[in-house]
Symmetry: C2
Subunit: 158 residues, 2 copies
């Protein structure tokens, strides 16, 4: 695993390049947001990102947060997910082992699920008249905890 600061340097450079190509301005807000995102280990949503920024005493407006997130999605430094429940989830995309997602229909928890066989089969598919760039696989079901809880409840009522 690469050093965290090194990763931040690389993504900052990638973002700089992207902003240059797109003739967008390199504002401190944008880089502060990118930095914060690459300090968060797992998933996050807009609200938790906003709170994290506030705690670091770098307040940005909601508008700027959404604006910057769109740029980061465009240049594939961030991935966006919508697991069925209300709001969007995000995660960093660079140097983050690609994974699928297991979503519990009972408690709503989300687990990462790595499976290279699946990954390579999906990525190697040749699709007619469509050029894929990325994909999301969401598997819905019942997580271990909820499954155990249900079993316990069932035994109690016996």
């Amino acid at each position: 695993m690469m050093d965290k600061d090194k990763i931040k340097d690389i993504v900052r450079q990638k973002f700089t390049d992207y902003l240059t190509v797109k003739k967008c301005r390199k504002t401190p807000e944008r880089f502060a947001i990118l930095d914060m995102i690459y300090s968060i280990p797992g998933h996050f949503d807009m609200d938790s990102l906003n709170n994290a920024m506030n705690n670091e005493h770098f307040r940005v407006s909601k508008g700027t947060l959404y604006n910057t997130m769109q740029l980061l999605l465009d240049c594939k430094l961030v991935l966006k997910h919508q697991f069925g429940n209300s709001h969007s989830h995000y995660e960093r995309a660079f140097n983050n082992d690609f994974h699928h997602h297991l979503i519990c229909s009972q408690c709503g928890c989300v687990q990462e699920y790595k499976d290279n066989e699946l990954k390579s089969m999906i990525q190697n598919k040749k699709i007619k008249r469509f050029t894929p760039s990325l994909y999301s696989l969401y598997i819905f079901g019942i997580c271990g905890k909820c499954s155990a809880a249900m079993k316990r409840r069932k035994n109690n009522t016996k």
Copy 2:
């Protein structure tokens, strides 16, 4: 392919059974919504479903629409999707060939993508401490039309 009316009968029966088990009431609104959904060929959203109901002169409130949709999701007669753009999409689940989705990042269009090899690999995965019930695979990229349009634009500027 089964006859459309026969399918409607079967899903109506399935919904009846579900409502009975869950001790929920069998209201005309619920069955009218189910019927309408099974009259729509492809994807739909709440707005188009609502309009379709109005055209059939069976108006139901937004609240009832969302309430009923939740029941239909629970008993797996309907599937829900969120492709990144604003609102949720739905599609009927029974007697609807399972498929994956190709989403164009440019124009936002959604195509169905059938691949049985992929389907069976995903469905046959044994996952530790997780009991899967259904899954969604979304492949994002550029559709044929947009790809052709881009190529044309590129040639024009040459």
